[in-house]
Structures are given as structure tokens and as C-alpha cells.
Symmetry: C2
Subunit: 282 residues, 2 copies
């Protein structure tokens, strides 16, 4: 496994691999790797010959009052996990390398898909994501890139961006990996106090109950959302940021779940913002 910090060097090495006919698999991350990331890496290994993992806490996707500074950085540990899981290259650039002075080019997926859910709550977040992912795609030139279903809106936005900008890249979205008690794996789980951690699985429990009601025939979005809200609000430690159901085709809120829909939740546990989601499909 090699660790590369320079864009130029990463490009040269990857070009050489491509010349030799190797298929490049790519997993973009912000580090603090957990089993969720490992499942993405394993998927990339199955689908390619040379797996690149980027580790870069991207400042442009954090709002001014968000957790950029305190976001966990655990590079030494990440390195070991990548080594164990047969990653070929860690791309680990500095902020200065990625955003030199006077940087001012942005990629943005506009419209409803970026304006609801986390897009409504985290201004500029998805523009930051689309921009850094475009840069990483141009550096790594992957044949296939793997994203997690946990960040469902991000995955939809990246798929739309790739389709509309014609990136020659296959996007694979991989299932959410969970702790034994159901909590979706996330680097931000590290922020939780013992008490918060103990009740964090309520989000998954709420999604499960909504799914069960949906399977039993409940299609009214109001009722499904209320069920989720009630369960999460059963702990006073939670503060719901949003509970929404949107059509996955156009991200418009739905009243009645008829086509494929995304039930998405964001909730604060203390200062920690957790997200999770569920696809509702007949």
C-alpha cells in the first residue's frame, strides 16, 4: 500500500496503472474509518484491481457553525485498517493541496434534490461535496466509485452529477452497515456520550416501525412521519432536525407513498447530528 499526498503524484501513479489495463476502484472518505467504510472498500475490491481510498476532511462541505475543526482525524489507525483490507493507495492530500489560494471553481447539482433534507439544513454542503468529489474523480479517474446508502441524499446527488456531467464512472451505492443495536455506523458516533450512545438506536427503531407500518399498508406520509417522530421524541435527549418522505425520482415531498420514496431522518443528540434513512418501495 502506498500513501500519496500530492495530486500530481497520484495522477501519475494511477495513469500508469490504467495504462497497464488495471481497473480502478475508488472509495472517497473523510477518514476515521469504521466498518461502514470497510464494507465500501470490500465492495471496491470485488469490482476493481486497484483500490484507492481518499482520506480528506473537506472544509468546503462544512458550514461555518459545523464540526469541521473537531471532526475526528485518526490517520494512523485508518492506515492500519486500509493495510489490513488490501487497499492499494491512500490518497491523503492537505487542504492547501486541494484548495490552493484563490480557488473559486464549484460544481453544483441545483434544484429540489439539493434543497430539501440536509440541503435545507446545511447551506453549501452539497456544493462542497459535488466539488470535492469532482476533483477526486479527475485525480483518481476511477472506473467505479462506491458510496454509502447511509448518506442517501449525497448518493443520489452524486449519481445525478455523474450522469449529467457524463463522468465515465460507475457509481455503486452500498448498504448501510450498523452496530449490533441498529445504530448506523458513522464517524460522528464517536462524539456521543455514554448516555447518548445508549439511546441512539432509537432512530433505527423508528425507521423499522415505519417500515413495518408501510408493509402493512400504511401509505400516508403524515402518519409514517409522525410514527418516526414519536419514537425518536420518546427520549428527551433527541432534538429532531427533520423527518421527511420524498420521491426518489425528483425529491419532492410526497403525501402518499406510491412510487419509490426516501424516508430520511436527521436528529441531534446533544451537539451530535445523526442521520439515517429507509427506502420505501412497493
Amino acid at each position: 500500500m502506498i500513501i500519496v499526498e500530492s495530486i500530481k503524484e497520484a495522477k501519475e501513479i494511477i495513469r500508469e496503472k490504467k495504462r497497464r489495463g488495471l481497473k480502478i476502484g475508488f472509495v472517497p472518505t473523510m477518514g476515521c474509518l469504521h466498518l461502514g467504510h470497510i464494507s465500501l472498500i470490500e465492495k471496491a475490491r470485488k469490482l476493481s484491481d486497484y483500490v484507492v481510498v481518499s482520506i480528506f476532511v473537506n472544509p468546503t462541505q462544512f458550514g461555518p457553525n459545523e464540526d469541521y475543526d473537531k471532526y475526528p482525524r485518526t490517520f494512523e489507525q485508518d492506515k492500519i485498517m486500509c493495510e489490513i483490507h488490501n487497499v492499494s493507495m491512500i490518497f491523503h492530500p492537505s487542504v492547501q493541496e486541494m484548495y490552493p489560494q484563490n480557488f473559486s471553481t464549484f460544481v453544483e447539482v441545483t434544484g429540489q434534490i439539493s434543497q430539501v433534507l440536509c440541503g435545507a439544513k446545511r447551506e453549501g454542503h452539497f456544493r462542497g461535496v459535488a466539488t470535492v468529489v469532482s476533483k477526486l474523480f479527475n485525480i483518481v479517474e476511477p472506473d467505479v466509485a462506491i458510496f454509502g446508502q447511509k448518506d442517501a441524499q449525497q448518493a443520489f446527488i452524486i449519481k445525478k452529477m455523474v450522469k449529467e456531467l457524463d463522468f465515465p464512472i460507475e457509481i455503486v451505492v452500498s448498504e448501510t452497515v450498523r452496530e449490533e443495536d441498529g445504530l448506523a455506523m458513522s464517524s460522528r458516533n464517536n462524539y456521543l456520550s455514554k448516555e447518548e450512545r445508549a439511546i441512539a438506536p432509537l432512530i433505527k427503531k423508528a425507521l423499522d416501525e415505519a417500515e413495518e407500518a408501510f408493509k402493512k399498508g400504511e401509505t400516508k406520509a403524515e402518519i409514517l412521519k409522525k410514527k418516526v417522530e414519536q419514537i425518536i421524541n420518546s427520549s428527551p435527549l433527541f432534538k429532531i432536525d427533520y423527518v421527511e418522505i420524498v420521491d426518489t425520482e425528483n425529491f419532492n415531498p410526497v403525501d402518499e407513498v406510491s412510487s419509490e420514496s426516501l424516508l430520511a431522518v436527521a436528529a441531534f443528540l446533544g451537539k451530535t447530528r445523526l442521520i439515517d434513512n429507509l427506502i420505501l418501495k412497493k
Copy 2:
């Protein structure tokens, strides 16, 4: 020479050429090819093995009151010129192919570089340019792409975009080709009446005089611009859109030409908007 209208087909053919180790050269155009384009094609041929010319009148770079509908389309003639000049592929997609329903992803080089000169006069123009060029780059995957110095601001913006989004592409900017009387070649010259065409070279004459004054030691932007304006305004048919001198590093207007600067002109002759420019360098 092959003519390809489908994005998927173009990608497949180019991938196969790249697998065989051929270097791809790319000239993006809106068609109505003239000797200016031919010089770009010749440059691409020198620098690559497989030359792709795109012919696409890109609606997203035209403002609502601009000439999208009447922009000249001369595909049959363009085809012959490409054939003669040994182009390997013409990529000629439809608007529907490039911008399917609900398209909403944009690439934008923000800041001063896009806000002055044509950026101030043609709202959204450079966002349209950056978006379509990003798409074309992802489809054609060129090793080298050639742009004309006539569209100087566009060339600077594309170079900044390529650098900041890390496109693995070399950008070459090729000198403006002129008619014998000095008029910069442009598809829009076709719009000019006989009378307008006769005085159109005044723009180049004005630039030449400014250059001469600069070479003789005049560095005050006000004086250089006034000289240009006076010469162009010597014909009542002209209506100046702008005459500006900006630093090529940051596109800030300059009072005194000390570092490399761009003297740029846009002027209407009747309804036809012509542009031309000059690099001032000590």
C-alpha cells in the same frame, strides 16, 4: 472520419482508442467552422493521434435575448472542412442528448474572472461554457484540448477550471486568426452587412494603435482605453459594449499596466456583437 451523435457511442469509441495508446486531441466548437477553427484543428493534429471536433451550439451559454436561434448552423460544410483537415471524429450531439429533461448540474468558475468583461454583460454565459466544456471533457477524455485566444476570457476561465477541478487535460491556447484586413475570424462575422463588414476591422486597428502606444511607453489604462474607444467610435455604426484592461492574474481592472494585462473589447455593429483582445506585456 466518423460522425457520432450519441454520448455513449462517443465514449466507447474513444475508450477503445485510448486503450490502444492513442493520444486524444480535442477542439470544442459551435460549428460554422472558419480558418480560426482550422488552425485549432491543425494544432490538435500536431499534438495528438486522434482528433475529435465537437460541433454543438450550446443553449446554456446564450442569454435569453441573445442569438441562440439565429446562430449559423452549417453542418454539411463543417463536415467537409473536417474531412479535408483529417479530423478523426466529429461529435455532434443533439440538445436533448446533452441536456436531458430535469438537467440541473452546473460547473461555475466564480469570482472576478467571471464577473468582468463578457461576464458582466452576458449573465450565465460562462457558467454555460464551463458546464458544457466539463461535459465534453468527460465524454471525449482528451489528453489535450485547444481553445482560441480570440475568446480570451473563456480561455482563462477554462484554464482555471481545469487547474482547480484537476482535469487530467492539457489546455493549449492558440493565436487569433484574422482576415486579411485584420478582422478576427468569427462565426458571427456572417451576420454583418456589407457596410458593417467594411468597417469591422476598426477594432483591430484600435488594438494595434493601443499596442503601439504601449510599446512607446504609455502605461496609463485610461489613455490606452480612450485611444481604442476613439478609433472605434470614429464610425457611427459601432456601439461599444466595453473596453477594459484587466490584470491576467486576477482579472482586476488596472490603472497602470505593470504586470501582464488583457486589453479586451466588445462592440456592437448593428445587432452583431464582436469581440477582440490584446495581451499587454512588458
